[in-house]
Amino acid sequence: MSRRVLIVIPVFNEAGYLGPVLRGLRRHAPGLDVLVVDDGSDDQSAAIAREEGALLVQHAYNAGYGVAIQTGLKYALRSGYRFALTFDGDGQHEPACVHALLGVCVSGRADLVIGSRYLPRGDSLPAAPYRGPLLRRLGSRFFGFLAGLFLGKKLTDPTSGFLAMNERAMRLYTADQFPDTYPDADAIVLAHRAGLRIEEIPVVMYPSPKGKRSMHGGALRPLRYVFDMLLSLGMIALRRGGEEE
């Protein structure tokens, strides 16, 4: 499986957390290629990625999380990887769950596999009580409900960045219509409308490190996020299915 899979880690000023993340991946997923997409960091993120032996792509400027994910997936497609996994660089995702996500994808059961922190976990996964702050949980429930209306099944963690995907999903995620501002529920609905099979499985996530600037943090960002996401979902609903691929 190793030569066919690329783990994509978008980072922006995550020098403080990246080393342990890369070492954790090496321990739990040895042999899998890891690509760090440095999204215009002005700290030592890129140097750490190099030191730890990861592949590295560097944006000349900070283009945002979604664009960094897209760059990583473009790299995967160009280099001939058949599967990709997106993983946070701040230590929020448990590397022991990588194989569970990939397994579903590689077996051909789904084109896009979402790691959910809200689904009940099996005994084999490490215990972690983290389920996110209340506002995030409410947002997840709301957008999970909306996305579920499109998907026709329950979606518990639409904001998860812990994803595994096959080539077909990678092509959609690197297409022009990919919602790269906040690729969450809208990207999942887009994938569903493009005919991709989507599955959610339980994973372990940890709290965001203290002092780290979150994509959804701050006073106005959550409002902006809700507005953008509603608009994005509305637009996807208005477009015909054929326009998505």
Binding site: L55, H59, A60, T71, Y75
Partner: protein
């Protein structure tokens, strides 16, 4: 509309036209973006010179005076031009995003190739 108002409107339209043409001549403004302003000038002139039409529009939209009609048209034009520029900015943002990604990927490709070549060179030196 008094003759003085007409003269002032025509003078403003003429001044805008001269500024726009001068910017195009200096290549500060691209031709593809100048037509909007030239259309605005043509609109002002049409409203001022075809006064009966302006009066009819004024009555139709329920404005108090013909100068209000001209202001409304100017306001609508400004909104349209803002939408036009928002579209252009979105296009440019997408282009910059793609260029940024392409640059990053090409740089990574070059670095990987250089690293491979360096490793090969080192191997050859060690073999000797």
């Amino acid at each position: 509309m008094t003759p003085r108002q007409r003269i002032a409107s025509v003078a403003i339209a003429g001044a805008i036209l001269i500024v726009v043409l001068e910017l195009v001549r200096r290549r500060t403004l691209r031709i593809e973006y100048s037509w909007l302003w030239i259309a605005a000038v043509a609109g002002i002139l049409a409203l001022v010179l075809a006064y009966p039409v302006t009066l009819a529009i004024t009555q139709w939209i329920g404005a108090v005076s013909s100068t209000t009609t001209i202001f409304i048209f100017a306001f609508v034009f400004l909104i349209l031009i803002c939408i036009h520029f928002s579209v252009k900015i979105s296009e440019l943002a997408n282009q910059v995003k793609k260029l940024g990604q392409e640059l990053a990927l090409l740089r990574a490709e070059r670095e990987e190739r250089e690293e491979k070549a360096e490793r090969g060179e080192r191997g050859r030196v060690e073999d000797r």
